[in-house]
Subunit: 445 residues, 2 copies
């Protein structure tokens, strides 16, 4: 029987980060990562396999990161967690653990409509073989329909559209694409861009059935219209992969993830869980959160990995920070949107500004950047923000994220000391984060 | 006599921001900005006039920003501050004020060596006429020598080098260019890049005299060597422009700026000062700070502008955040470097990591990003950071700045919730800010 002090089950963003963190915090322990996949795709890079990168092989997490960090690897499928004996049963034999970290990720949400099992209907699996198959099928497909206009859906749509000679359609149930993370004025910009790039975007579109005999031929909407389809991709979300945990009798949470406390400990003190498989609470109010992101996974993994032999870190709950990019347009969100905040019962004041992201605006590569900040109106505390612009959006939204996490007020942000540079940022006078805070302060007075 | 409730003297980054802030906080007051210049160059954009932008006219702060904010403008040269009568004397008549904000900026530091007054020796004035003259002179110059290897010096060097057919030399007194804001391992990368782009960089180079009869012909170093020069540019720093304040009897500080308290109030309660003309204290320990940056100016202006009719904001002192870019390489710094911190008496622990700034590393436009974080070793509080990479450095260093300002610890940063995206940022597993904190934590244990 193989044994290790710390065994991590799962080899994607959560598993690898948990393993590296455990290694850093416990340099003398044996750390073993057990995963099913021979090769691990970078989860967020999956849409880019089809257009920008060109193949699943160009989107792999290199195993060298494990070797560098002295993490042993066993490629095996776990079939059972034996909590009494502190061991995993796998198709490659038993693996004994002193402490176990579950990072088993998520599976695509099932769509309960007729026709989902037809040939040519693909859920997005984080699996190289499945991605290769999808890529091959895409070559022959003329009409591609993507069900779900979240970030995965629109990124898939744009990348598939880049292949050329295809009719790509995105179907979104809600009034706007991306509406779970952006206010409508941002969503509409992305929809307009997708349309300008030749993609059909249909919002408030309820899919009634996927039509076909053996193979898909169309997608039928509730309003009666039918969309021809050679290939359908389901991008409607993910559910925690908790089968083994459930069978082992670990407590399962309200959102069907493995229940964990703020230290990422499960109901068994020898088992931690992190990433998509773990139950999450929101940073805002502490209620259950359904967000599943690689960035959340890595945070939880840093907590779990540090805590396995002594509690050192706690989670404040999930802020929800992510960005997306289509063509030259990038959008980022952190925390609550104005609409989400109001729905949750917050009274909010927003500040919105737009300015070139370089200065003067004639500097090469300059693009307009829009920043919206959402403050709770009594405390002036920042509870969310959205940014639209070019490549610097990716880090700009992380400044917003830092401000949210440290519960900065509008005054804190209005007197924020930032650096600026003509080729890299907006001007000091117009710096959008600071000015959005000032605009909000003006409305609070 | 013209009068206004709030008069701002000076029309660059500090003056404009003070005026806008006063307008926002006191919507019913009359705000008047008095400045000498007909046209105001964007200060940080000045080096880019010569190569990237092509002319001083493409680097102007538009006066529309004043109109939009209902700020009146008087172009006039102030000759005296009459504190008893609450008025400015100018060459265009008297201007009465209830509250006055001084934003008179800085003047180039004088170099006390023989030859500085020869024709062809230029200090960098924030003045369109002077920039036009320099641009004309550059056309005929073959050998250009820049004295001073700070960010202004290297940006000028690279932009002038872009014009083509010139020998450009940078002379730096210290052991490295940029050494007041970066640790040597960063400075050396910038020096290597400048050399690779055809610029001669000489460090530890003390200039003894500028040689010539009526016009410069060479620069002579202390080591005896001479460098042929048709044109010499002095980029050795700036001193506060306080002549009027001094004559008016306002208290002057230890660094020869107008003395102010944390509310930016001078020794006269009816007069505030901000930007390069104002005395500064450091965020670290509170001692005097010699930093002069447009970003600091705008912060102080937001404090002064908000405080003129009732104290609302205070400064925590100058963190010092800025970035620079040459070719595709960008570098940013916030707070103290390792060397500065040690010189000041801090015990420090540093974390350094390097990773591609997109993921996978094969994404178009990916560049290696290096992040160094400097922590005070007892408290684990972040006191500085440096970043080298591509365009996202400009906002990445501002995340570091936010962390410094909120006195975040290594643990805070290691458990930071950031967003990531293949086309915009490093991967969640390798995100350099978080990993640099983890590396530092590993060294603290």
């Amino acid at each position: 029987m193989t044994t290790a002090d710390i065994v991590i089950l799962g080899g994607s963003a959560a598993g690898i980060t948990a393993a590296i963190t455990a290694r850093r915090h416990y340099p003398d322990k044996r750390v073993l990562l057990v995963r099913r996949e021979r090769q691990v795709p970078i989860p967020c890079g999956i849409p880019y396999v089809f257009g920008t990168l060109g193949s699943p092989e160009k989107n792999l997490i290199p195993d060298s990161i494990l070797e560098t960090n002295r993490i042993d690897l066993l490629i095996a499928e776990a079939t059972k967690i034996d909590r009494q004996q502190h061991r995993l049963l796998t198709n490659e034999g038993q693996v004994g653990y002193e402490q176990l970290i579950l990072a088993t990720g998520s599976l695509p949400t099932k769509l309960s409509i007729p026709g989902v099992d037809l040939e040519g209907v693909f859920a997005i699996l984080k699996d190289v073989e499945n991605l290769r198959l999808l890529q091959r099928e895409l070559q022959g497909a003329k009409n591609v329909v993507i069900i779900g206009g979240g970030f995965i859906g629109i990124e898939f749509a744009d990348e598939i559209n880049k292949i050329g000679s295809k009719n790509v359609t995105v179907l979104e149930l809600m009034a706007n694409c991306l509406s779970l993370s952006y206010d409508p004025e941002f969503c509409v910009e992305m929809e307009d861009l997708l349309r300008a790039r030749g993609i059909t975007v249909r919002t408030s579109a309820t899919v009634e059935r996927i039509v076909g005999d053996r193979r898909v031929i169309a997608v039928q909407l509730k309003d009666g219209s039918g969309i021809p389809a050679d290939l359908v991709i389901l991008g409607i979300g993910a559910r925690a992969n908790v089968e083994l945990a459930k069978e082992a009798g670990l407590r399962i949470g309200l959102t069907d993830g493995v229940a964990v406390d703020r230290t990422m400990q499960t109901s068994d003190p020898a088992i931690f869980a992190c990433g998509d498989c773990a139950e999450k609470i929101s940073f805002f109010g502490g209620g259950p959160s359904l967000l599943k992101l690689a960035s959340i996974a890595q945070l939880e993994a840093r907590i779990a990995g540090a805590n396995v032999f002594g509690l050192r870190r706690e989670s404040d709950g999930t802020v929800g920070v992510w960005s997306t990019a289509v063509g030259g347009l990038a959008m980022g969100t952190a925390g609550l949107t104005e609409s989400m905040a109001k729905n949750l019962g917050y009274q909010v004041v927003c500040g919105i500004v737009e300015t070139p992201d370089r200065h003067p605006g004639g500097m090469p590569g300059a693009a307009p950047m829009k920043v919206k900040l959402v403050f709770e109106s009594h405390s002036q505390v920042l509870i969310g923000g959205q940014v639209r612009g070019s490549v610097s959006v990716g880090e700009m939204i992380n400044i917003v994220a830092a401000c949210v996490q440290k519960r900065m007020t509008a005054e804190d942000i209005a007197t924020f000391q930032m650096g600026t540079h003509p080729a890299l940022t907006a001007s000091p006078i117009a710096y959008p984060l600071v000015n959005a805070a000032e605009v909000a302060i003006g409305q609070m007075q």
